[in-house]
C-alpha cells in the first residue's frame, strides 16, 4: 500500500507534498524582518581631512609660506571660481577651463516638475521659477549641478562618451569629437582603458563635463610627475560663493586621479 502511495505522488508531478515548504517559508518570514532592521538604505560615508596640529587656519600657511626653493615639489593646485576651473603648479598654470553651469531643480511637491536652467555667474542668487506653479524653487530643491566646458565664446564643447558615461580621449589625452572604426581611443578612468572602435555608434556625443576634463588633466599630471615628493598632494582653492557640492565633486575626482591628500584653501582676491 505504501509503495502505491509513493508511486502516485511521483506520478502526479510531485504535488503530494514531497517537500514540506511550510518551515522554509516560516524561516523566510522571520529572516526578512531581521534583515530589514539592519539594512542600510542610504549609505553615509565620510571624507577625512586633517588640519595640522595646533593650527586653526591652514589656509594662510598654504598661501604664504610657499617653499620656493624646493625643486622637486609640484605644489599642485586646483582652482575653482564661479565660471572657471583650472590647475596650477609651481611652474605656472594650465590653460583655463571655462565652464557653463546648469542646475536641475526638482519640485518637492510634485516630482515631475523639473527644470534645468543655466546659471548666470553674475547673478547667482536669481530665483529659479517653477514653470507649473510660477513660484520660485527653494535652494533645497536643487537636485544636481552640471558644469560643462566651453570655449572663450561660451559655446559648450562636446565630446564622445561611452555607454557607461566615460569620456573618450586620444593617446595624448585630448577629448575626442569623432571616431572612425579602427581608431584607438582611451576611456578616461583610472587607469585609462584602451578601446579599439568597432562601431562608431557605440559612442554618443554629449557636452563635455568639466569634472571629466579635470580628471583627465589631473591624470596626465600624475603620470608625468609621479616622482615629485608631493605627488599625492593637491590643494583645492575655491572662491567664496562656490557651492559645497562642487567642492565635494572636485575632491572626488582628485581622489580618483590618485591625489589622496587634499587640502582646502580659500581664494583670496
Amino acid at each position: 500500500m505504501g509503495q502505491v502511495a509513493r508511486k502516485k505522488a511521483v506520478s502526479d508531478g510531485g504535488h503530494g507534498g514531497d517537500i514540506d515548504l511550510k518551515p522554509f517559508i516560516n524561516f523566510l518570514v522571520v529572516l526578512i524582518p531581521v534583515l530589514m532592521l539592519s539594512a542600510e538604505f542610504a549609505k553615509i560615508s565620510i571624507i577625512d581631512m586633517k588640519l595640522p596640529e595646533g593650527r586653526g587656519s591652514t589656509v594662510k600657511k598654504a598661501q604664504t609660506d610657499r617653499p620656493m626653493e624646493e625643486d622637486d615639489k609640484l605644489l599642485l593646485t586646483m582652482i575653482i571660481t564661479d565660471s572657471v576651473v583650472t590647475i596650477g603648479a609651481k611652474n605656472g598654470f594650465m590653460p583655463t577651463l571655462f565652464y557653463k553651469e546648469y542646475q536641475k531643480y526638482v519640485s518637492k511637491e510634485n516630482r515631475k516638475d523639473e527644470v534645468t536652467v543655466e546659471m548666470d555667474p553674475k547673478n547667482p542668487d536669481k530665483p529659479v521659477m517653477n514653470p507649473k506653479t510660477g513660484k520660485p524653487f527653494s535652494s533645497n530643491e536643487r537636485q544636481e549641478i552640471m558644469i560643462y566646458v566651453t570655449d572663450e565664446n561660451h559655446n559648450v564643447i562636446n565630446c564622445l562618451y561611452t555607454k557607461d558615461r566615460k569620456m573618450l580621449s586620444d593617446a595624448i589625452g585630448n577629448p575626442v569629437q569623432s571616431v572612425k572604426s579602427g581608431d584607438t581611443v582611451y576611456a578616461v578612468s583610472n587607469p585609462r582603458r584602451m578601446i579599439i572602435v568597432n562601431n562608431p555608434a557605440d559612442f554618443a556625443l554629449s557636452p563635455l563635463s568639466a569634472y571629466d576634463e579635470m580628471k583627465n588633466r589631473l591624470m596626465k599630471i600624475k603620470e608625468r610627475y609621479k616622482d615629485a615628493s608631493d605627488a599625492d598632494d593637491i590643494i583645492l582653492v575655491a572662491e567664496n560663493q562656490v557651492i559645497y557640492d562642487k567642492i565635494v565633486q572636485l575632491m572626488d575626482i582628485a581622489r580618483e586621479a590618485d591625489f589622496p591628500k587634499i587640502s582646502i584653501a580659500k581664494f583670496r582676491s
Binding site: I44, S139, I243
Partner: protein, 166 residues
C-alpha cells in the same frame, strides 16, 4: 466516497501556488542581504539637510561631536546654535573668520573631552569632529565653520557624504 474524493482533487488544483511566493522571498532576502550592515549607521542625517554624493567609501567609525550646517541653521549635536545667515554676514575679507557662538559651544564640548581625559575615560583628546554640510551651502560658510573648528582644537574633520550607488 466518490464525492469526497472529488472535493479533495479540486482543493488540490486551486491550492496556494507557493513557488512564486518563494521566488519573491528569495529575491527580497538577497536584496536585503546586499544592503545589510553589521554595525548599523552611526551617523544619522539631520533634518532638512541634503548631503552631497561622493565616491568615498570610508565608513564613519566612532561617534564624535557633530556639526551640521543646513541652509538655515548650524547645529551642534542637533542643538541649533547660530543661523547660517549670521555666518554669511561675517565679512569675507577677514583673515581669520570665527563664528563666536559656534566657538563657545565647541569650546564647551572640547572642555568636556578634556575632563574625560582627566578622569581617565579617554586616552587623549583626539580632536575629531564630524561635519555635515548641506550640498547647497556656499564655500564661504564651510570655510568659516572649518576655521572655527580648527581654532577650538578640532583638527581632524570628517565630512559626511552620501555614498553614490555604482
Amino acid at each position: 466516497m466518490a464525492r469526497g474524493r472529488n472535493k479533495f482533487s479540486t482543493a488540490k488544483s486551486t491550492g496556494l501556488i507557493i513557488t512564486s511566493l518563494i521566488d519573491f522571498f528569495s529575491v527580497v532576502v538577497i536584496y536585503l542581504m546586499k544592503s545589510y550592515s553589521a554595525e548599523g549607521s552611526i551617523l544619522t542625517n539631520a533634518d532638512n539637510l541634503v548631503l552631497p554624493n561622493s565616491m568615498s567609501k570610508l565608513k564613519p567609525k566612532d561617534i564624535h561631536v557633530q556639526v551640521a550646517a543646513t541652509s538655515d541653521m548650524v547645529l551642534v549635536d542637533n542643538i541649533p546654535i547660530v543661523p547660517t545667515e549670521d555666518i554669511k554676514k561675517i565679512p569675507q575679507e577677514e583673515d581669520d573668520p570665527v563664528v563666536l557662538k559656534l566657538q563657545d559651544k565647541l569650546k564647551a564640548c572640547y572642555a568636556q573631552e578634556e575632563e574625560m581625559v582627566r578622569l581617565g575615560a579617554l586616552n587623549k583628546v583626539e580632536g575629531n569632529i564630524t561635519i555635515q554640510v548641506d550640498k547647497n551651502v556656499p564655500f564661504d560658510v564651510l570655510f568659516k565653520i572649518m576655521n572655527t573648528c580648527g581654532k577650538v582644537g578640532y583638527n581632524n574633520m570628517n565630512f559626511a557624504v552620501m555614498e553614490r550607488e555604482e
